[in-house]
Symmetry: C2
Subunit: 208 residues, 2 copies
């Protein structure tokens, strides 16, 4: 039975989230987190034994949110195009709300190669892959999309969703676009990206 979190614990976790996502594990200072939570350093250690444990709580939560987005592919009653559009929309929404998340995960993953296997081992990745493979194989067989590997679709789609968000500061500077215009553009990409993917797959609306 999971104990309800106290008000202080909630404040600490929220503070840790902001600091870790901004500074990374090495860059974050326990003092920063304490200040952000308006408590003193010793209290952090009282509630969470050490820095690593606090970090793991934040990271685990974020990774599960990333994983959740893939559940779209398991939804029945939607065809390939509908699932793709929903996936792109949710992916863009998620990364928009935490633009640092992918940077953070990828940076930490390169420092510690065990991180990804350790963190992902409890998620039923094989199930999601099987579901996805099943969906596209059906559409390939029906001639709705050209023969293609699922890795290709996922990687291209993720690239087109995620990169424009993490690279926003660079593109805003280069193309002299202000924040609000760039956010509008990211909204527009919820259409542009699936359109591009479907076009690449030579997608034909199924005749059911």
């Amino acid at each position: 039975m999971k104990q309800a979190l106290s008000d202080t614990e909630i404040r600490i976790i929220a503070a840790a989230e902001r600091i870790f996502l901004l500074k990374g594990l090495d860059g974050a200072r326990m003092q920063d987190i304490a200040d952000e939570a308006s408590i003193n350093k010793a209290m952090l250690h009282y509630y969470f034994r050490n820095k690593q444990q606090l970090f793991d709580i934040i990271l685990d939560d974020k990774i599960s949110k990333v994983f959740d987005v893939f559940q779209v592919w398991a939804q029945p009653h939607l065809n390939f195009e509908q699932k793709l559009r929903k996936f792109v929309e949710e992916e863009i929404n998620l990364i928009k709300s935490f633009p640092i998340l992918p940077l953070f995960i990828m940076l930490e993953a390169r420092k510690n190669p065990d991180l990804i296997p350790t963190k992902l081992k409890n998620f039923p990745i094989q199930d999601v892959k099987a579901t996805f493979q099943n969906i596209i194989q059906t559409d390939i067989d029906k001639g709705n999309i050209r023969p293609v590997k699922m890795e290709e679709i996922i990687l291209n789609t993720m690239s087109l969703c995620v990169y424009p968000i993490i690279a926003a500061p660079l593109f805003q500077y280069t193309f002299k676009v202000d924040n609000s215009a760039y956010l509008d553009y990211l909204e527009a990409r919820k259409q542009l990206v699936p359109d591009m993917i479907l076009r690449d797959l030579n997608y034909k609306t199924p005749q059911n």
Copy 2:
């Protein structure tokens, strides 16, 4: 007049590159770099005043290489397709050689909003943009590609080149691909990515 680098300086820079690429700024230890260069810690400080300066040398060098890749668009005697293919090839080669670079720049850019303007202010970005705009406008007018904004092409192309490299650890784990097979796949993307972009632009080989 730029002094030629001594053998030791070259070894230090090569070592620093490898360590910073692996661990990031905060995660890298001066001792790691010294070991990698087979010298002692004091020598690092003799040649480069401090850690930050050593890092900046690596970073500035890499940023100028990023910019160099865009010079492809200014090469005469190549048509749009040839320039695009060359750009993709060089971009993938570059990011492969320093995968942490986009991650670091983007993370630092969010911590310090002045970083991008400061690092990029000496590059003639406007010239490259004008050149690029000119090229695609010509092809649009000739009917070789559909009407499209240059921002769109650049952002999509960069996304498809860069993201698969920075997210490599995640995809290698998810799809059970080993390092060498993934490197092969990135090579294959030097074809796949321009193919996809050209397809999206409804590209027709010019009739010259």
